[in-house]
């Protein structure tokens, strides 16, 4: 049996959803032989590859880089999962959405510091006007809410997808 090509992506989130994935502990040993992890913060790949079977996306879409990566993820993945509240609802990253980005950055990097009064621009992507849930920018095949989603829920999702079924989560997972 060929291995499923799985990617994980970390957009505007705290990495807690990735931690929850790792929290599968020994269940990861059973999953490992069935999966080839082709992209994500847990592996070295620099470029999001073609022909991915399942991509788990953590985090809200908050910057231009997030947006471009999300679009690439959609174009190159068969099945996209919005993993966790930031990807599903915007969650904490969306708390800045009432403040225009310029004003927000100046408050932090100019008014909020004693030295180096300058908004960083080198090596950091420009922010979008608002941090939005993944499905507001690309088509999402499955939403797994939770902050973070419990390891068991992630395990259930992966196991079902590997078995060729679409996991049914409605009524099973807490929302928000």
């Amino acid at each position: 049996m060929s291995k499923a090509r799985v990617a994980t992506v970390w957009l505007d989130g705290c990495s807690g959803c990735h931690m929850s994935l790792l929290d599968l502990d020994e269940a990861l040993i059973d999953l490992a032989p069935k999966i080839e992890l082709v992209f994500g913060p847990l592996v070295d790949a620099q470029e999001f590859p073609e022909g991915v079977d399942v991509t788990l996306v953590e985090g809200a879409v908050s910057s231009h880089d997030d947006l471009h990566l999300a679009q690439k993820v959609r174009a190159r993945s068969k099945f996209v999962v919005a993993l966790g509240d930031c990807a599903v609802t915007g969650n904490v990253p969306s708390m800045r959405n009432q403040i225009p980005p310029k004003q927000l950055l100046e408050r932090i990097y100019v008014d909020g510091v004693n030295v180096n009064h300058r908004v960083p621009s080198d090596g950091v992507p420009p922010l979008l006007k608002q941090a939005v849930p993944l499905h507001e920018v690309i088509r999402v095949d499955l939403h797994v809410p939770g902050c973070p989603p419990p390891a068991a829920a992630i395990g259930f999702v992966l196991t079902e997808l590997l078995a060729g079924r679409k996991p049914e989560l409605a009524g099973k997972v807490k929302f928000g």
């Binding site: 507001e136 809410p145 902050c147 997972v173 807490k174």
Partner: protein, 236 residues
Amino acid sequence: MPDRVSIRIDGELIHAKLGQTILEAASATGKFIPSLCHLKGLKPVGACRLCLVEVAGVGRLLPSCTTPVQDGMAVTTRSERLDHYRRMILELIFAERNHICAVCVSNNHCELQALAKRLGVTHVRFPYSYPKAPVDATHRQFVLDQNRCILCTRCVRVCAEVEGAHVWDVGGRGVGSRLVCELNRNWAESRSCTSCGKCVQSCPTGALAAKGYAAEEMVKRAETISRLVEAKGARA
């Protein structure tokens, strides 16, 4: 005129008291109809529309919390159409304000959240509106966070009907509607608030909370309001 009527709820024959609402008759027989603005003991207002039901022979959906039972009525409390509208209502409630559950005092003890789970909401299909909504933390004991308010008006009613102070009301129009304290003052400046906390206990979300609680720590007891009203009624 007989004081009892026979109705069918989801095909089941039920004897209800005349004057009861469909929601009351249904819950008396242990049937679940989702609702958020309803709180036993307070006057029903039909604000949240989650308790909409189908009544045979009536073309439009009716809120079960304000519709009295009538003899021979046939009510449907669950259908694809109702599920569809109820989920839509919940999603619109989430999209209307900034419900950041992860940082909310009522996370995991929230009626809105619990209902979203129960009705199978896994995401909101409508674009979020991200309104700029104020927080009034001027009161010594309590805080009002408009980001989490769903305008159910339970606080308005409990304060007016049970406490008799009528501190709260709704100001503005449409999506600009906001809970207001008296004639739009800060809570601390209220002249009629008795600091009884009934509004806080009746609030289904984290919009009204006691101070000093961190995320997930605020557990409310809305049922004490219902018991209080029942006890008052027994004394009268």
